[in-house]
Every structure is written in structure tokens, then in C-alpha cells.
């Protein structure tokens, strides 16, 4: 039924873009420090047009310095995780893989944690996360090839193995971290939070992530070909090695970028692409942009809960897990997925 309504591209993307924008504005307005929606909109608009100041300096500070970067962070992180999940799923012709299941998230987390422990700079943290993420995905995909077993369970099992190894590396890092200063920051950050994102982070990461997203989005129809399997894709003229390498590299960049901004946030990369396909169909020409917008919206909603449910902030992974897992069961049911 949902599919019928969203059959036309115009309706689907108008609806999703409007929803994302509305959630963005609403997300700016909610929080313990009350700023009315109208004032929020006026503060945002004042950047572009001259408006009479009806708001207090505190309001402006909260909206522009704290909430705006945070919301942009939610857009970028949610969009990247959803897009990288959808891309991995197409390239590994397997709707059950995601940055989490492939071990990329935990690998990137290890890379970033190690860099934090060494007190490296922001760029080094990013590169270290990317490096470990790539190692994780290479090992995860090498194991099934080593056993000449190209089945879904084998790839998932391989992801479990790599994730297990990365988790214990992460444990080692935690164990050797300074329990007063470094440990809490690593632990809290690894559970996922958008709280620490500053405007300067967005200025650095925003363009980089957007660029990678554009690269993947512009070849999204070709992901359909990849999802048919190697020999079919090749018979349709796809240079598999180059194409897969490019897509996996871009998707891993996105995951590592998201991990650097917000720590590991589980389930978005798995659940959101399923939701995207439920709305838009399996053609990646539609499913990929839909997944990006849904991922951004979902993250904005979850982050709003994380900020407002209790007196202190709840780590995002806890919420995405609690919302994502039942949602995933429902999605599997709706799609009648056979595994």
C-alpha cells in the first residue's frame, strides 16, 4: 500500500525531503533549554535576511552554536550510515550486511579510539578510523573467499568473527586507557553521541562526507547491476573489481566518517535501507536517495529522544538498538524476506 502511494518519484522524494526538513526544524526547537519553533526559525533565517531581534542572546547561542551543528551532524551521520549500508548490501548482493555486521563500524571505532589514546589530531583520528575500517572489511570479505564459500551465512559469520576480534581490541584499548580521564571519554563516545559535535567539525567533515555521498549516489543505478552477482554483472559489462573496490572504499569512508563524528551508532546501516526499499522498491535509483533521507530523519528523531527522554543524555546506540531491532523484525515481516 505504501508502495502505491510513493510510486511516482516526485511524490516520494517531496514527501521524504519535506519530512526531513520538518524534523530538522523541530529538532532545533526541542531541548531542555526552551526556544519556541518560531524563534528558532527566525534565528536561523537571520543568517540570511535582516530580522528584528526578538530573541535573547542565550537562545541564539543555543540554536546556532549547539543545536545547529548537532542537527547537521545527525543529518550527515544518519545519511552516511544509511547510504553505506545500502551500498554494502548491493555490492555484497546481500540485504543482511551493514557497516556493523561487516565489522567496519567496530574496526573504525578501534582505529579512532587508538588515535584518541595517542592524543592525535582530528585528521589523524579520521585516517586511523578509515584505515582500520578498511582492514575490517577486507578481512571480512576475504574469509568466505578463503573457504570458497560464497553464501550469506558465511559472510555474516565472517563479520561476526571480525567484529569479535575488533571488540576485544577495543577492550584492550579500554583496559590500557587512563581510567580517570581517557576511559570515560572512549566508552561514552563508543556508545554513540552527537553531543560533542562542534561547528568546526561540520565545516571539515560536512563537505568531505557530502562529496563521497555524491560519488555513490551518482553511480547508484550501477549498484543494481552489482547486486545481481559477479558473473551477471560482468556479462552486463561491469568491471567488477574496480567497481566493487570503489563502492566498498566509498562506503567505508562514509562509515569511518560517521564513526569519527559520533562514535558507533548501530542498526541505522542495516534497518534504514530495508525501510527505504519498502517505500521506494528495490531499484537503487530510488532506494538509495530514499535511504539517505530516511537515515537522516531517523537519526534526528533518535537524537531528539536521546537529549530529552531523561535528565542526562542517553547514548545513541542504546536507543537505535531499542528502536531499530523491533523495527527490523517488522520490516522483515513486511518484506516477507527469505534468508
Amino acid at each position: 500500500m505504501l508502495k502505491k502511494i510513493f510510486e511516482s518519484d516526485a511524490v516520494l522524494f517531496a514527501a521524504l525531503a519535506t519530512a526531513t526538513f520538518a524534523l530538522f526544524v523541530a529538532g532545533m526547537a526541542v531541548g531542555r533549554f526552551r526556544v519556541p519553533v518560531g524563534e528558532t526559525a527566525r534565528i536561523l533565517a537571520s543568517g540570511a535576511v535582516a530580522l528584528e531581534r526578538t530573541w535573547t542572546p542565550q537562545m541564539e547561542n543555543v540554536v546556532l552554536k549547539i543545536r545547529l551543528p548537532r542537527l547537521f551532524g545527525a543529518l550527515l551521520v544518519g545519511g552516511s550510515l544509511a547510504l553505506s549500508g545500502a551500498a554494502y548490501q548491493a555490492v555484497f548482493k546481500n540485504p543482511l550486511v551493514s557497516p556493523d555486521l561487516l565489522g567496519v563500524s567496530s574496526g573504525a571505532c578501534v582505529g579512532a579510539s587508538a588515535a584518541i589514546l595517542m592524543h592525535w589530531g582530528a585528521l589523524a583520528i579520521q585516517l586511523s578510523a578509515l584505515f582500520m575500517g578498511l582492514i575490517a572489511v577486507v578481512v571480512t570479505t576475504a574469509i568466505p573467499r578463503f573457504f570458497r564459500n560464497d553464501t550469506t551465512p558465511m559472510l555474516v559469520l565472517s563479520g561476526v568473527i571480525v567484529t569479535g576480534f575488533m571488540t576485544s581490541l577495543q577492550g584492550l584499548l579500554k583496559y590500557s586507557a587512563d581510567p580517570l580521564d581517557e576511559l570515560p571519554s572512549i566508552v561514552y563516545w563508543a556508545m554513540g553521541s552527537l553531543g560533542a559535535i562542534k561547528a568546526s567539525d561540520i565545516r571539515v567533515m560536512g563537505p568531505a562526507i557530502t562529496l563521497v555521498m555524491i560519488a555513490l549516489v551518482s553511480i547508484r543505478w550501477r549498484l543494481n547491476l552489482m547486486s545481481l552477482g559477479d558473473s551477471e554483472a560482468r556479462s552486463l559489462g561491469v568491471d567488477i573489481k574496480k567497481m566493487r573496490g570503489f563502492v566498498v572504499f566509498c562506503a567505508t569512508l562514509l562509515t569511518a566518517g560517521a564513526v569519527c563524528m559520533s562514535g558507533t551508532i548501530g542498526w541505522i546501516g542495516l534497518v534504514v535501507p530495508h525501510f527505504g526499499r519498502l517505500l521506494a522498491g528495490h531499484d537503487n535509483k530510488r532506494a538509495i536517495p530514499a535511504s539517505i533521507l530516511l537515515g537522516a530523519s531517523f537519526t534526528i528523531i533518535v537524537d531528539a529522544f536521546a537529549r530529552n527522554l531523561t535528565g542526562s543524555e542517553i547514548p545513541l546506540s542504546i536507543l537505535t538498538g531499542m528502536i531499530g531491532t523491533p523495527l527490523f523484525i517488522w520490516l522483515l515481516f513486511m518484506q516477507k524476506t527469505t534468508i
Binding site: N224, G229, E232, G237
Partner: protein, 282 residues
């Protein structure tokens, strides 16, 4: 080496010269196989399980790089063609399998236009028009909006062939196109194969049913399980002895007057057992 009988005056579309392939060094799955096919020729490949039927197709379409010999399509060596150039010449219809993602038939078939689209391009109106025309010409236009999971196995095989047609190749390879299909659908697919040949497409297919090459009445290749393949016309290659050797069952080739064709008939099951015992004694 290329034998005399394969050299025809017509232009060769597919020319395989002395090709060999192995997965494990020392065990040649394909060894010194040669054949040539002209426009509209049909080559039906028979052979027991594991004799390399699918591998031979993979070699022709460049999925498996040859370990020796040469395959050329329209005069150009397959190994020297880029994936896109090859895809414009050779279409491939894989064995029926459930794809991981569930595309609508129209979106699946339009993927056949991929070799003609740029890296950043997606199919547009022209590509979809060609898709609709192909579905129309095969009489399956009514499936266009259905999902691939919603149609029957026979219909899915037709849809896969439609995708290969949209690709406009000179050669179409079909890997066991009749397996997993009921009897009626098997015959429907064979008719489609004959139809492809009438359209001037050169077809290579693999099958387990000796009646199929007889019905298609083109060339036959019989893989002997030791790497070699005997190729020729149906009357040259298919005889009771070779079929018995291949399948180790008792069978007869009988000309049926009413049907005006030869049919391959299996002996009674109890008789077949007796035959197997006889084989053991020898």
C-alpha cells in the same frame, strides 16, 4: 586444432580454438576444445555433471580467463575486449536463481542496456521503450510491472532471456535454461531459443536432456568428462552408443513417424538396472 569440417565459408561469429581451462593445476576441465559458429547457429552442449558445461560458457563470455587457446567473437579475441565491448557482443543468461533483491520485471530487463550507458547514466525513456518492445515481442508485456518474485520460474526464464535480447548481442549463452522448469515451460524456452536463432542471434546453451539438441536441430557438443568435446551436427554426434556412454543408462533413439523426428527414449527402470549390471560385468 581446428578441424576441416568447422571451417565454413560464412563469417564465424564465435570461434573457439584449442581452448583449455583448469581450476586445479594438473586437472584440465577443458582440454583442446575447438568449434566455430556462424550467425544464427545453435550449439547445444551435453555432458554429465561436472564435465565443464557451465565452465565452457564462462570461458566464452570471459568470466573465466582461459588457460590456453583462444575464443574470438566477431573476429576479436575475448581476452582483448573490455568488459563493455564484450557485453555488447555476448549476452549471458544464468541458471535460474532467486536474486537477492526483488526488482520489477521492467527494471530487471532494462539492465540489459547497461553496456550502452555511461558510468553515471541511468536508463531513460529510450531504454525503457526498447525494454517494452522486447517484452511485447516475446508476448510477456503483461509481466512488466510485476516483481520478479511474483512470477513463475518459466516466466522468470523468459524475463532473463528478454534482458539478454535488450542487450542486442551477437551471441547469447544460456546456462541450463530448462532446469527447474516443468515440461511445458522447457519446451517454451526451447521455442524461444529457436526464435533467437531466427533473429540471427548465435546461441550456445547447455542442457541435460538429449532430446533438446534433437529438437533444436543445430550443432551439438558432447563433453566427454575428460576435457574434450566432440562437435558436429545432431546426426553426426548423437547416437545410442555415445549417449549410453555419457549417462550410463539404457536408451534408444527411435524415429517416430507421426512426429517426424527422432526421440531419445529411456528403457524400463528394471531393464536399466539389468543394463547397469551388464556394464559392471564388462
Amino acid at each position: 586444432m581446428l578441424t576441416k569440417s568447422f571451417q565454413s565459408s560464412r563469417k564465424d561469429i564465435v570461434l573457439a580454438e584449442n581452448i583449455s581451462f583448469f581450476y586445479v593445476r594438473g586437472h584440465r576441465l577443458l582440454d583442446g576444445i575447438s568449434f566455430s559458429l556462424a550467425e544464427g547457429d545453435i550449439l547445444t552442449i551435453l555432458g554429465p555433471n561436472g564435465s565443464g558445461k557451465s565452465t565452457l560458457l564462462d570461458c566464452v563470455c570471459g568470466i573465466s580467463p582461459l588457460k590456453g587457446g583462444r575464443v574470438s567473437v566477431c573476429g576479436e579475441s575475448v581476452s582483448s575486449l573490455s568488459p563493455v565491448e564484450l557485453a555488447r557482443r555476448v549476452g549471458y543468461v544464468p541458471q535460474l536463481h532467486a536474486p537477492a533483491f526483488d526488482f520489477p520485471v521492467r527494471d530487471y530487463v532494462v539492465m540489459g542496456r547497461a553496456p550502452y550507458l555511461g558510468l553515471l547514466e541511468a536508463p531513460g525513456r529510450r531504454e525503457y521503450e526498447m525494454t517494452d518492445a522486447a517484452l511485447e515481442s516475446m508476448g510477456i508485456a503483461h509481466l512488466a510491472r510485476k516483481l520478479c518474485s511474483e512470477i513463475s520460474g518459466g516466466e522468470r526464464q523468459q524475463v532473463q532471456i528478454a534482458r539478454a535480447l535488450v542487450q542486442e548481442p551477437k551471441v547469447i549463452l544460456l546456462d541450463e535454461p530448462t532446469s527447474h522448469l516443468d515440461y511445458g515451460n522447457q519446451i517454451k524456452v526451447l521455442k524461444l531459443v529457436a526464435d533467437l536463432s531466427d533473429r540471427g542471434v548465435t546461441v550456445i546453451l547447455t542442457t541435460h536432456v538429449p532430446d533438446h539438441p534433437i529438437l533444436l536441430d543445430g550443432k551439438v557438443g558432447v563433453l566427454d568428462g575428460k576435457g574434450g568435446m566432440r562437435t558436429g551436427s545432431v546426426s553426426e554426434i548423437i547416437d545410442e552408443r555415445s549417449l549410453r556412454d555419457m549417462y550410463s543408462v539404457d536408451l534408444r533413439l527411435i524415429y517416430i513417424e507421426e512426429m517426424q523426428r527422432t526421440a531419445c527414449v529411456i528403457g524400463k527402470l528394471s531393464g536399466a538396472q539389468g543394463f547397469a549390471e551388464k556394464m559392471l560385468e564388462v
